[in-house]
């Protein structure tokens, strides 16, 4: 008898692992059956999680931490035993702006595009019509990546430009109507905007932080404790789904599954591009291959590094204008649960890092790292501005940022 776990998700390509774990029977092999519940806003995904309609959710990572800290609603502790993927988002600008910040058919360079954008932002601010950006949620990696890039290029997100929330399905329309000048969103929504001629892709978020944490599998802390064994089975199934997802032999098949009405209800062609790291950055242009645009499996990509949660907390301090608090920082760090990940995958072939925290953005080249199980090399993981996040000095990092 397999236990059932209900998982909430938003129709985005990076909801792939739970969907494929279900569709390819990896979950059933592990003795869990997955019931998927699709919603159209993060608020509803979160409501279902908090009121017990779902056991787990595909969630933007910062929202798991914000919920634990009680930002925007009463605090409810969430736990993240598995990261569903890294990056996979892009910044898309209206075509006339995109053409001013990057050249030709190439994806932009973050520093150069940022410098060009700064000039435009200043022009627009002087004209009393500041640049407007849409992100998918206040507590999303999209918001933090966009702000990180802007700020590092000398554009102050809360003064020089306006950033507001635009739901992913409305991004292309908002660009087309001129409600926003740029969006930072996951796939397939950048590609939808490109196909409609409403925007052109300027950067992938992987260029801002080469290994940036994106969606996570979040559960209420109490549910994790109560259903620990089933959750560990689920983690093993999701890991198998990850191996299947990144294998080029399966791209066609998986794109077809994800495109179905009950999942993304979208174009298999656009989904296939995202999962094969191919981007059409401008309508009518060539496909550009950007390696590791999405990052779902290699290098223990799903391992919930405590340092990733801490980095997200530093961005929350930075942009919520609520000062650093050691107790809050400890709570934020505690959301990511490498202990559960390890216990689930111990004895399988999956590599397990020796440490639970790392200096983020410090690797400029491929490095072999110590493991508890298996062998593991980590590739370049830098932030585009070269700044390193050392979790042993969080306050120092925050003061350096502001």
């Amino acid at each position: 008898m397999s236990t059932e776990l209900t998982i909430g998700f938003l129709p985005l390509v990076d909801a792939c692992l739970p969907i494929l774990a279900h569709e390819h029977g990896f979950a059933e092999e592990e003795g869990v059956s997955i019931r998927l519940v699709k919603d159209m806003s993060w608020a509803t995904v979160l409501d279902r999680l908090l009121y017990g309609h779902s056991d787990a959710a595909h969630l933007v990572a910062p929202l798991a931490i914000a919920t634990t800290l009680g930002r925007g609603r009463p605090a409810q502790p969430l736990s993240v035993p598995f990261v569903l993927g890294l990056n996979g988002n892009a910044i898309t600008l209206r075509p006339e702006l995109a053409q001013r910040v990057r050249s030709g058919d190439e994806i932009g360079d973050p520093a150069e595009a940022g410098a060009a954008l700064k000039e435009i932002a200043e022009e627009r601010l002087r004209a009393g019509d500041p640049l407007r950006f849409g992100v998918v949620h206040r507590y999303s990696s999209h918001n933090y990546m966009l702000r990180y890039w802007l700020a590092a290029c000398g554009i102050r997100p809360d003064h020089d430009v306006e950033i507001s929330t635009v739901p992913p399905p409305f991004c292309a329309d908002a660009l087309k109507q001129g409600e926003v000048d740029g969006i930072c969103v996951g796939e397939p929504w950048n590609s939808v905007a490109v196909e409609q001629g409403a925007g052109e892709i300027v950067l992938s978020t992987a260029q801002i932080w080469r290994r940036g944490v994106e969606k996570v599998l979040a559960l209420r802390e109490g549910v994790l404790t109560e259903k620990r064994e089933s959750v560990e089975r689920l983690i093993r199934a999701l890991c198998k789904a990850g191996a299947h997802f990144v294998d080029p032999a399966n791209w066609e098949l998986n794109a077809g599954i994800l495109a179905r009405p009950e999942y993304l209800d979208g174009s298999a062609e656009l989904i296939r591009r995202a999962i094969s790291d191919q981007l059409l950055i401008a309508r009518g242009g060539p496909l550009v291959h950007y390696p590791d645009f999405m990052f779902q499996h290699r290098e223990a990509a799903n391992f919930p590094w405590v340092s990733q949660a801490e980095w997200l907390y530093t961005q929350m301090v930075r942009w919520d204008a609520i000062p650093f608090d050691a107790e809050e920082c400890r709570k934020a760090a505690g959301v990511f649960r490498p202990d559960v990940y390890r216990s689930a995958l111990l004895g399988t072939g999956a590599p397990l890092p020796g440490a639970s925290s790392k200096v983020e953005g410090s690797l400029a080249s491929t490095t072999v790292v110590g493991t508890q199980q298996g062998s593991m090399t980590l590739e370049k993981n830098v932030f585009f501005d070269g700044v390193v996040f050392d979790p042993s000095d969080i306050e120092g990092y925050i003061s350096h940022l502001s």
């Binding site: 159209m40 608020a43 509803t44 009121y51 009463p74 109507q177």
Partner: protein, 192 residues
């Protein structure tokens, strides 16, 4: 009290509106258009906002409220932990609600309960409609299957129906399923 109903389904919005219209001293505003949502909220300046859970603009609205609160504007989410049960009922029914901070729970409760009941009534209507539609589709395939049996085996209509029923009983299936199979097989054999 000013109540905004935000729903992309105009049909559902009017069912809720109709229900709430019975309340005294309530002014109702229905918003079905996503464009200009926040500007509309500014104009309406509601005390209570009701929004369907399936609306992608919930994240937009929540951000707006979070920002408004920072500016000391009086609107806040209805997330009083003491009232978990009523929120759970809302989530169940598919409606989310946002209420001005400091409003007496006694005034809010009847409105939310009513909204939840109207939402539930709407989903029952939807269900009935879906059932009626599927019944209609079933009747159509039964008629088609009867016609196929009548044409290919020269049976009179009552006999054709009896054959369908017999097959269904023998195989422990529904008559509609047997009819569906006959129609599919018939089409596969190259018949229009």
């Amino acid at each position: 009290m000013r109540i905004a109903i935000i729903d992309e389904s105009a049909a559902r919005a009017s069912i809720i509106q109709e229900g709430l219209a019975a309340l005294d001293d309530c002014e109702l505003f229905v918003v079905t258009e996503r464009r200009g949502l926040l500007a509309r909220m500014g104009e309406i300046d509601p005390d209570i906002v009701l929004m369907d859970l399936g609306n992608p603009s919930r994240d937009v609205l929540e951000e707006y409220f979070a920002v408004s609160r920072a500016l000391q504007r009086p609107i806040a989410m209805f997330v009083d932990e003491s009232d978990d049960e009523s929120i759970a009922a809302s989530v169940e029914a598919g409606v989310s609600s946002y209420v001005v901070d400091g409003m007496a729970p006694g005034r809010i409760r009847p409105i939310l309960d009513l909204a939840v009941r109207r939402f539930n009534a709407f989903s029952r209507l939807q269900q009935d409609l879906a059932e009626a539609k599927s019944k209609l589709a079933e009747r159509e395939s039964i008629d088609k299957a009867k016609r196929i049996l009548m044409d290919s085996r020269g049976l009179p209509e009552p006999k054709a129906y009896a054959e369908l029923r017999k097959a269904a009983m023998n195989q422990g299936k529904r008559i509609a399923d047997i009819a569906e199979a006959i129609v599919t097989a018939h089409n596969l054999m190259g018949n229009p």
